[in-house]
Every structure is written in structure tokens, then in C-alpha cells.
């Protein structure tokens, strides 16, 4: 078949397929703060365990089911936030949102996550990329009761 009419290569970048096939930080953490989220429209799920100590994300793990975008986004996100201070993580969340929702260029602190910029050319898939970030945000809120 000839080239598709949409920039599929921008969407399914090598690093995304890689994280989808081999998710990093997959699993659960005993005694961690547990948060989860579903995208009811498409059924994608993310369950996340976060350990916060000394204003730092000491550990993080996730499980989930869904499309390559939602799952690779979660996997890359865990890599990028693990060991970071809450301030750094909040900044990353803000930068990721800006890239995905407001069309901003990827900020330097996003690392591999930059690969998800291509998703913005597929507007219905943006919510897939955002799911794990919304769950993370909830995990950082003080009101969340630890598991």
C-alpha cells in the first residue's frame, strides 16, 4: 500500500512502540499511595502506585490496559518522574500538558516524552496520552488517602 494520508510515523515513533511492548516500571508497590483512572470513552485504564518521601517521587509503578499511546505514555512518564522532586514533577506535568493540549514545543525536561508530540496531529488520541498524567496528578494531591 502507498503512504498513508496521515503522518502515522509521527504517531507511532519507535520509542513509543518500544515502551508499549516493554513497559518500564510495570507492577505494584506495597504500601504505596494508590491511584487509578479510566478513560470511560475508550476503556483505557491506568492503576498507579506512588511513593513520595522528602518531597520526592521515590518510587512509582503502574499497571494498565489500553492502546499503545496510553500505555507508552505511562511507561515513559514513570521513567521521567522517578527520583524527581515534587517541584520538578509538577513542572514536567505542566510542560507535558502544554505540549499536548496547547501545541507548545516540547520543553527540555520532557526527555523521551517528546516522542508523544506527534499525537497532537491525531486529536482524538490526545486523551490517551493524557490519562496517566491525570492519574499522576491525583497521586500528588495531599488529599489522596494512602492505600
Amino acid at each position: 500500500m502507498s503512504e498513508p494520508g496521515l503522518p502515522l510515523d509521527d504517531l507511532y515513533r519507535e520509542v513509543i512502540i518500544d515502551h508499549y511492548r516493554k513497559p518500564r516500571n510495570r507492577g505494584t508497590i506495597d504500601g504505596a499511595r494508590h491511584v487509578e483512572g479510566v478513560n470511560p470513552v475508550c476503556g483505557d485504564e491506568i492503576r498507579m502506585d506512588v511513593v513520595i518521601e522528602d518531597h520526592t517521587v521515590k518510587d512509582i509503578a503502574f499497571e494498565g490496559a489500553g492502546c499503545s499511546i496510553s500505555q507508552s505514555s505511562a511507561s515513559m512518564m514513570t521513567e521521567e518522574v522517578k527520583g524527581r522532586t515534587l517541584g520538578e514533577v509538577e513542572a514536567k506535568i505542566a510542560h507535558f500538558r502544554a505540549m499536548m493540549l496547547d501545541g507548545a514545543e516540547p520543553a527540555a525536561d520532557l526527555g523521551d516524552l517528546e516522542a508523544l508530540q506527534g499525537v497532537t496531529k491525531f486529536p482524538v488520541r490526545v486523551k490517551c496520552a493524557m490519562l496517566s498524567w491525570n492519574v499522576l496528578q491525583e497521586g500528588l494531591e495531599p488529599s489522596t488517602t494512602p492505600a
Binding site: M1, V41, C42, E45, G66, C67, I69, C128
Partner: protein, 418 residues
């Protein structure tokens, strides 16, 4: 009916290439490719004749109906009521038994409220199946919650059939209603409605058939099905959005309280109480969707001219081709029955390692429109053990070239994830 028998019953075979000329939307490129529309179980496209009927109505006859004496009101009323006669004919019913609603969903809700609230009591049971669309689940959940009734779900077999023995075992003295899809929008399987009707009747229970996927694809005769209610949507059978049909046995509809109150459905209004109009107007409160009901008449004419046996024969033929072609793809698994005698043209499938949303995005980039998701059948998704399925669904204007485009695009998707 076997494919051969169905073909013989069909007046003339359907020629999808010729029909496509009636569907202006199909003649477009999507993402650089000619559109292949395979999302017909969600909604079908509309022939020129239906669009023209809308335009003709608004350019010539538009008026509010039933109460007007002036010429436009007379024309609009006559055209609206003519569609009721056609809808009745489509399913072998009487016009006064046809209630126009917004969609199949509202038709089912109407029964849940207007029949259910008066007839369901604490401990009563309603039997559904695990393959039902949310529209045939949630109205009964809400009713069960109001009344303290209990819902029971008949199993789906591993091969994608209704487990009829299980269903029958669920029907007992407390069963007041059985409500099943005529055809599953996910598995494509056609349920044995006449047998279910017999089982329901033997237990003194009523039977509602969710015909959202029945009326568009199968010859339907409510008398021989033996059901008590039959619900369907115009938009899934060439008609406009915004029109549904509830058929109910006249005697049953007559005993039911109204659902919505307002203009059109009353006879006399007093301060404290009112009296109701005759059937079917009792159930059509407020200004109806006049234009779309009239345009739905044009869709029913179109299907009548093709003949439902011919529609069925065409779908069996293309579904057979599609299932063969899909099954030949390594790592692809078709859900639901393989025998086309037992199923319609909604073909769900899974591809190893590729989530349906990714598949749908990739297919779309090649101009192929399928649906990916839970198809409003979350219970069935859990039963199948999948979060979602890919679904290609066929209608009268689809042909084997569309199947070729579908399978070629799936092979491209497999390469992306290889």
C-alpha cells in the same frame, strides 16, 4: 435460511456498485484515499432519496402537524402518517401500533417507564443476555432500582452464541420480562427470537426485542417472531438521525400509561387531570421529529424496493467473504459465529499485539472507517476478556473491494507494530 434459500427469496440481487451512486457521501477521499465506510452498525449512510425527502419537505410542506387546518399542515400530517404505515409494513405490524421515538434507546426506555413502572414489583425478574447493548441494559437497571426487581443475564457461549439453555433456565415464575437483541452489534449473532418468545410466553413473561440491528438487516415479521415489543432506529437503516420506532401489541400499548406528557398526546386537559389521545398519539408528546419521520419513509421505500431478502442475501455473501479474508491474516481472531446463516454483517475481531484504537487510527489513515471500542457492550467485553474490539460492519453499498481495502490496511497496521 441458507444463503442459497435467501438468495432465491430475494427478488433481484443487490449490486453495491450501482447503489453507491445513490450515496453521495461515499464518493469522497479521506486522508488521501477513497473512503471505505465499514461502520454501518453504528450508523448507515443515507441515499440521495432520503436527503431529497428532507429538502423537499422543508422547501415545500413544512408545518406543525395534526392540529392545523391550513394546506401545509395537511400535507405535513399526511406525509408523517404515511411513514407510520411504511414503518408498520416493514415489520408486519399495524400503523396504530407504531410509536415514533428519538431512537431505539428511547423506545426501550419508554417501555421501561410506561410498562415497567406499572407492572414490575419487588422481587420480579427481568432476563437479559450478556451480549446486550447498554441501551437494553441501563433502562432495566434503572427500573430494577426503582422497583427492587432483579436482573438476570443469560450467558454467551465461547463460540459467540447465546446460551439458549441457560436463558431458558433463567426464565421462571418471577420473570416478568425478557429483553434480548435480535442481532448482536458486536458478535453479529442472530438470536433465536421465536424460541425465546415461546419460553417467555410459557412463563407468562413479556418479550421485548431490541431490533436496532434486526430491522436494518433482516426480514422482520413481529407476528412470527412472537414478541410483544420491538424497538429500532431509523439511522441504522438508511434513515435520518433522530427517529426511533417502538412497536407494541395494540392491546398492550392500550393498557399502558403515557410516558411523556404534553401537546399532541392529550385528549382533554383539566387543572388536575387529563385524558389521553388514542394510540399511537398517546405516546408522542410535543412536536414530533416531523421532517425526519417523513424522510425515514423514503428510507423504508428504498429498502422495500431492494427487498429485505435481497439485503439479507447480500450481507450474508459479503460477510462470508470478509470472515474468510480476515481469518487468513496471521494473528487475527474473529469474534462470534463464523457461519453466515447465524449472523449478520457486524464483524468484530482482535489482532495480536495491536489495541483496537491503534488499529482504528491506522485504518483511518488509509481511508478505512471501522469502529474500535466497547460498542456500548461492556458486559460482553468482560465476557470476551477484552477491553475493546475492532468492528467492521457491512451494508448494502459495501462490496468485496471494500474487504480488500480493509485487509490491506490491517496488514499495514501489523507492519507498524511488527
Amino acid at each position: 435460511m441458507t444463503l442459497l434459500e435467501t438468495r432465491l427469496a430475494a427478488r433481484a440481487p443487490i449490486d453495491p456498485r450501482r447503489l453507491r451512486a445513490d450515496f453521495p457521501i461515499l464518493d469522497q477521499d479521506v486522508n488521501g484515499y477513497p473512503l471505505v465506510y465499514l461502520d454501518n452498525a453504528a450508523t448507515t449512510q443515507k441515499p440521495r432519496q432520503v436527503i431529497d425527502a428532507l429538502v423537499h419537505y422543508y422547501e415545500n410542506d413544512n408545518a406543525n402537524i395534526h392540529r392545523g387546518i391550513h394546506t401545509l399542515a395537511q400535507r405535513a400530517t399526511a406525509a408523517y402518517e404515511a411513514s407510520r404505515v411504511k414503518a408498520a409494513a416493514h415489520i408486519g405490524a399495524q400503523p396504530q401500533e407504531i410509536v415514533f421515538t428519538r431512537n431505539a434507546t428511547e423506545a426501550i426506555n419508554l417501555v421501561a417507564r410506561a410498562w415497567g413502572d406499572a407492572n414490575i414489583r419487588e422481587g420480579d425478574e427481568i432476563v437479559l443476555t450478556a451480549m446486550e447493548h447498554h441501551s437494553n441494559i441501563v433502562p432495566w437497571q434503572l427500573l430494577a432500582l426503582r422497583k427492587g426487581a432483579v436482573l438476570r443475564y443469560a450467558n454467551v457461549t465461547d463460540t459467540g452464541y447465546l446460551d439458549f439453555d441457560h436463558l431458558r433456565s433463567l426464565i421462571g415464575p418471577r420473570t416478568k420480562l425478557v429483553s434480548v437483541a435480535h442481532m448482536s452489534n458486536v458478535l453479529g449473532v442472530i438470536n433465536p427470537v421465536a424460541d425465546i418468545a415461546e419460553a417467555a410466553r410459557a412463563a407468562g413473561a413479556f418479550l421485548l426485542v431490541d431490533g436496532a440491528q434486526g430491522a436494518p438487516h433482516l426480514p422482520v415479521d413481529v407476528e412470527s417472531l412472537g414478541c410483544d415489543f420491538y424497538a429500532f432506529s431509523a439511522h441504522k437503516m438508511l434513515g435520518p438521525t433522530g427517529v426511533g420506532v417502538l412497536w407494541g401489541r395494540e392491546g398492550l400499548l392500550a393498557t399502558m400509561d403515557p410516558f411523556l406528557g404534553g401537546g399532541e398526546m392529550i385528549s382533554l386537559v383539566h387543572e388536575d387531570m387529563s385524558t389521553w389521545a388514542d394510540l399511537p398519539h398517546k405516546f408522542e408528546a410535543g412536536t414530533p421529529n416531523i421532517a425526519d419521520v417523513i424522510a425515514f419513509g423514503a428510507a423504508l421505500d428504498y429498502l422495500r424496493d431492494l427487498g429485505m431478502p435481497a439485503v439479507r442475501a447480500h450481507e450474508m455473501a459479503i460477510t462470508a467473504v470478509a470472515i474468510d479474508a480476515l481469518s487468513a491474516i496471521p494473528g487475527l481472531h474473529v469474534h462470534g459465529p463464523k457461519a453466515v446463516e447465524d449472523r449478520g454483517g457486524a464483524v468484530s475481531f482482535a489482532v495480536d499485539g495491536i489495541h483496537p484504537h491503534d488499529m482504528s487510527t491506522i485504518l483511518d489513515s488509509y481511508g478505512v472507517a471501522i469502529r474500535a471500542g466497547h460498542h456500548c457492550a461492556q458486559l460482553l467485553m468482560r465476557r470476551l476478556g477484552v477491553p475493546a474490539t475492532n468492528r467492521a460492519s457491512f451494508y448494502i453499498y459495501n462490496d468485496t473491494a471494500d474487504v480488500d481495502r480493509l485487509t490491506a490496511a490491517i496488514r499495514e497496521a501489523i507492519k507498524v507494530f511488527a
